[in-house]
């Protein structure tokens, strides 16, 4: 058991060590201050948050229906909405173009009637990210709802609590851990999003070029810039893990 386990650790940690070994530590602050890098970091701050909010707004009601609803084809719906998790993100981007692009099924109408066009906009980045990350939220929240069951809600109702009271005092508090976990997974997936964003929203510094896109483009000709940006993503991911760990400890005790 131990040798393969050690191999697994080495396998997962060595690439990160390789990254760290190649960081140009002396120029790092100058590189982080270039406009392109700052734009990318800013977009990587707001776009995953936007995607997560979008996922919460649409995904939580769906998770609720999947967990509690009794309707035909529920399993099919669950399978379909989780498909973006296995779909190559690039394919997701193309699919988004054919749905919400200017010539797309819905996008055509929106563009003609209202002049709305999602590609090449920051909101388009959020949409592309939400497409690939929402399933993580839906499945996590659904599992949470299923697990909490209806016992407490029923108990509250028998004790005379109104529907609003039950929602506020029982349902939402019991939902919040799974919502937190789901939102975190969703955010993390959105942070790393590359393929769907590049294909659907495009690549322009300041508007659609998030950090992963900047890394991808920089890799072609400026590997050093790519390393610096990767380091930032690495540090942010690590920080999120540590924060989560802290929360879990608190929750456990």
């Amino acid at each position: 058991m131990v040798p393969p386990a050690l191999l697994a650790v080495a396998f997962l940690v060595l690439p990160l060590a390789g990254l760290l070994a190649n960081v140009p530590w002396t120029d790092i602050s100058a590189q982080l201050r270039t406009p392109d890098v700052r734009n990318a970091l800013y977009l990587s701050l707001i776009c995953p948050i936007g995607a997560t909010l979008l996922s919460i707004a649409l995904g939580v009601p769906l998770a609720w229906l999947l967990a509690r609803g009794r309707f035909p084809g529920r399993g099919l719906v669950r399978g379909l909405v989780t498909l973006p998790m296995v779909l190559p993100p690039v394919v997701g981007g193309v699919a988004l173009l054919y749905a919400f692009g200017r010539g797309g099924l819905v996008g055509r109408w929106g563009y003609r009637e209202f002049g709305i066009s999602l590609p090449y906009t920051t909101f388009g980045v959020m949409v592309a990210s939400a497409f690939v990350s929402m399933p993580f939220l839906i499945l996590t929240v659904e599992a949470g709802i299923v697990q909490t069951g209806v016992r407490f809600e029923e108990a509250a109702e028998t004790l005379g609590a109104g529907r609003l009271m039950v929602l506020r005092r029982i349902t939402l508090p019991m939902l919040s851990p799974s919502l937190m976990a789901g939102a975190t997974l969703c955010w993390a997936r959105a942070l790393g999003e590359l393929g769907a964003t590049l294909t659907f929203a495009g690549n322009l510094s300041g508007t659609t070029q998030t950090t992963p896109l900047a890394v991808f483009i920089a890799l072609q000709t400026k590997p050093q810039d790519a390393v610096v940006l990767s380091l930032v993503l690495f540090v942010v991911s690590l920080a999120v893990l540590l924060v989560l760990r802290g929360r879990r400890m608190v929750g456990h005790q």
Partner: protein, 293 residues
């Protein structure tokens, strides 16, 4: 329940990369009662959320060194604009040299120079633009001088019908025209930038794509009014029309080939490079829209 509890139950499935199993699980519960399969996941693996974000990076259009080439095959590094032409050339080459199959590896020429510098294997290097080939030469990667075997021209690509009535580079700078360029890290972006500078036109692109085919694709899917791409990437595509950019405003991109110093099959690679300038190959390239010197 706690965040820990939820993560412990759901994250092993979500973060372990077995997304397929998860979807199957999700589908499988259609006949079940409560879809609680997700909660039966083993709780031994640590709940880690962020790696899924890291794992999703990359994997789009990046070319990896062709390490898995068949023994004896020539590894040819080539730009993406040759993706249609090269397989045809390879087929003809294989007929003449059955012992030397060609294993092409497509990517951006500037990126391939960097990959070669970092020790990627390769027998022959085919580059678009003199810059990358010069860079490879200066880095001491080449065995011998490069041979120019074709040229490519830039064209303005517009949707068939040209709804915005675009006739010249100057039209790309007009308000209301959604224009797509290549990123400057790619040959098509670099050449387009030079052409726009020569024409004295300032364009605010809606997106800077990672290659000439992607620029064309934006117009094909109806998401752009115009773009600047290599002529060979829109030839034969009925959904788009090419508009000429005069010689005064552009420099045709030269395609050159050279044998690499680190070649494992130097003789076969040399054969391949000279094969590119034989009349039959030149004719084939001309039919695909390349300019022949």
């Amino acid at each position: 329940m706690t965040v820990r509890g939820i993560l412990r139950r759901s994250a092993p499935l979500l973060a372990s990369g077995s997304a397929l199993a998860l979807v199957l699980t999700a589908c499988g519960s259609s006949g079940g009662s409560d879809g609680a399969e997700a909660s039966t996941a083993p709780s031994t693996s640590p709940a880690m959320a962020a790696p899924s974000a890291m794992a999703s990076m990359g994997g789009h259009g990046m070319s990896m060194p062709a390490a898995s080439a068949a023994p004896g095959s020539i590894i040819v590094l080539a730009p993406g604009t040759l993706a249609t032409a090269l397989p045809l050339v390879d087929k003809a080459f294989l007929k003449a040299h059955p012992e030397s199959p060609v294993s092409p590896n497509f990517g951006h020429s500037p990126a391939q120079v960097i990959q070669l510098q970092q020790g990627s294997p390769g027998d022959a290097f085919l580059a678009v633009g003199v810059e990358s080939m010069t860079q490879a030469k200066n880095a001491g990667l080449l065995a011998g001088d490069p041979t120019v075997f074709a040229h490519n021209r830039l064209e303005i690509v517009v949707p068939a019908g040209n709804s915005k009535k675009i006739t010249s580079l100057a039209d790309l700078g007009k308000p209301g025209v959604t224009t797509i360029l290549g990123d400057e890290s790619t040959p098509v972006g670099l050449y387009a930038k030079q052409a726009l500078a020569k024409a004295g036109v300032t364009v605010k692109p809606a997106s800077k794509e990672e290659g000439s085919p992607s620029v064309v694709q934006r117009v094909v899917t109806g998401n752009a009014d115009a773009g600047i791409a290599f002529a060979t990437d829109l030839k034969g595509n009925s959904k788009v029309t090419g508009i000429d950019i005069p010689d005064a405003e552009q420099m045709p991109a030269a395609y050159s080939a050279a044998v690499l110093k680190g070649a494992k099959h130097a003789d076969a690679a040399r054969e391949f490079v000279s094969f590119l300038t034989t009349p039959s190959v030149q004719n084939q390239l001309r039919q695909l829209g390349f300019l022949i010197p």
